[in-house]
Symmetry: C3
Subunit: 274 residues, 3 copies
């Protein structure tokens, strides 16, 4: 049952170093706190090794990358690896500019992150070192549905096998896999895509979950984080007044993560394991 | 009727490239989503041309400018122009420092933005290449009221004519004009000035509305964005509990934008066209 | 009575220049507005003197420092001092990296801030020019309770005497002192530590309160800001629905600051003066 990873994260209270974009950084910090972790944001090359060394996990998010912060991501990533901390890469907008595609590919190659979390278009761009993305949202022609699920999953598992990472491609259907096993997850609501940063938040929370689980349970811990975000989206939606919209919804999703416990997640998680 | 521009924006779902300040960037992203667009934030000079090329509109906001991002604004602005995308300039704090006044003037001259959206003090500083602002708020002596409305409007229309831009000077009374016509808009509430970033949000939303309308209807599209923000502020205020204040009010304004449709705006918009 | 400083801040409406981290900057802006001030964020070295010159107070927060912004903090800090504006230093994460410890110490030495506001671990790191912090939260072994209060207070007062600053060490118990007198403050709730940025917000609000009070009442003004934040946390908690969590709580705390008046604070403040 995936609920145990909620409990583990609350018990371990992991400190997570985030080098992340300035658009959604506040929500990333609050969702890490909501799930039981503590965030620290630091992106200056001269301090990222020190900061990572006191943490238990690292998330690298290229959403508003620049040359300075990409360097910091590489330095922090290598340090985290040397310490055995899980690293989560969120290749925001890979495929939308050649700089992003190259930066994400460079981090992938030089850091070898334990987890890659993105939408399917970003992950395709990263896997193919190229791509055409519609901004930071997945391209509609990349959408995962019953007709192409097997094919998409085979692609993701091949990518996971090649990189050695757990790969989480999130969207209407979330696919989380390593080279051998996979979770097909049906939590979440379409309205979550009208909020900025649910993906970034998930990447941050994933680092907290991964940092709280043993390496051999990493796939499960990542799947648990994905289910937690989706289930929080469902619960939060139920609390919206008719006049409330995407901005209040964003708050209530974090609130729902804050209240989620092991039993809740065990009840709410909807997935198939392959 | 201005409501049609709400519908057009939801239908066109424009992707808006934002180079904007880190204070209010999350709210800008959420309000663009709320009105039917999609935001992408990117400020590294090496990628802004790629990013702008996949978008339909651009907003340039100098709220936390630095030398690096001003260069990116110029590069992105010129690229957007070459592609025929509308560019919105928000000269936040022009007049508050000579760097800001100069940067805003440089963007005005080199990019020739289709829309300029600011408070009246910022627009005066930009027009005069100088000024004395009280921070990012309009100076009280610049306030627009019945006694000086004609004079202020004449000044704005002369500026619009000179620059070829639609000019939106927002405050207690909002004035939106090109060189020939003008909207005098009475939506909004004084309490909106106790929230950070309603102006920045409006600039982002204005880019989405302008990107969804034909060039010959740009004045109307900008007026519609201004009315939408003001009407959202009125609607949102009605949903506040007595103990709720500026932080919750900020969420509910975006919520109200999220719920606004054509009929709502046609009912709520209060303006005079000259 | 401390409530008078709430009134003074609303009456003076001080403009506060903030060089602060991008994680919590939006909340800092909104809380400064909530208490009656106006914020302006500007971190480019070439404009910070201009910006500070039109303000009445300055807050320097090293939460996401980089080499560029540390230079801007030094320039702005010296300018503010030359103008007689109170400067608040928030040494976020001092002790967590040697860069942060050094940057905070450099600002302390070169700017001589009127107020230092941090958690006890950060203030120990700053005082000792070294330290081992658990990220941006206070180390548990630094916690202030009945058993060590006298000792901690003696340490803080010695530090206040040496630096000439008012020192505010906030946590479960808040200690605010100068070299002679002290406030031991019991407002606030433990749940506030599960929100990102309550400390940053307090530092911004402290600058607004300090900028609105005469220099000889600075200790009282800082104590009033600390009580306001804590009392707002208590009031806000009472308005939470059972399903609301840390993200909504964050909004409601700012809302409660927005509603706080002199009589409220006089009623809610719980402190001992020594």
């Amino acid at each position: 049952m995936l609920g145990q990873y909620v409990t583990e994260t609350r018990k371990k209270h992991p400190l997570i170093h985030c080098i992340t974009n300035y658009v959604t950084v506040n929500d990333v910090a609050n969702v890490i706190l909501a799930c039981g972790g503590s965030p620290i944001m630091a992106d200056e090359a001269d301090e990222v090794e020190d900061i990572t060394a006191i943490c238990q996990g690292l998330t690298l998010n290229i959403g508003t990358l620049n040359h300075r912060t990409v360097q910091s991501m590489l330095i922090a990533g290598k340090k985290a690896k040397s310490l055995g901390h899980p690293v989560v890469l969120d290749p925001v907008g890979a495929g939308a500019s050649s700089l992003r595609t190259r930066a994400a590919a460079m981090i992938l190659e030089e850091v070898e992150p334990e987890v890659i979390r993105g939408n399917i278009s970003e992950i395709r761009a990263l896997a193919n070192h190229s791509g055409k993305a519609k901004g930071v949202d997945a391209d509609e022609k990349d959408a995962v549905d019953a007709s192409n699920l097997d094919e998409v999953l085979a692609f993701l598992q091949a990518f996971a096998q090649k990189t050695g990472s757990v790969v989480a491609a999130t969207g209407a259907t979330d696919l989380v896999c390593d080279g051998k096993n996979a979770y097909i997850i049906h939590n979440g609501r379409a309205e979550m895509s009208r909020i900025t940063g649910t993906g970034c938040q998930l990447s941050g929370m994933t680092a907290a979950f991964a940092a709280s689980a043993p390496a051999e349970k990493r796939l499960e811990a990542v799947a648990a984080a994905v289910c937690t975000m989706g289930a929080a989206g469902e619960i939060a939606y139920g609390h919206l007044a008719p006049y409330e919209g995407n901005a209040t919804y964003a708050r209530r999703i974090i609130d729902a993560v804050n209240h989620m416990d092991e039993a809740d997640l065990n009840k709410e998680a909807r997935y198939e394991r392959r």
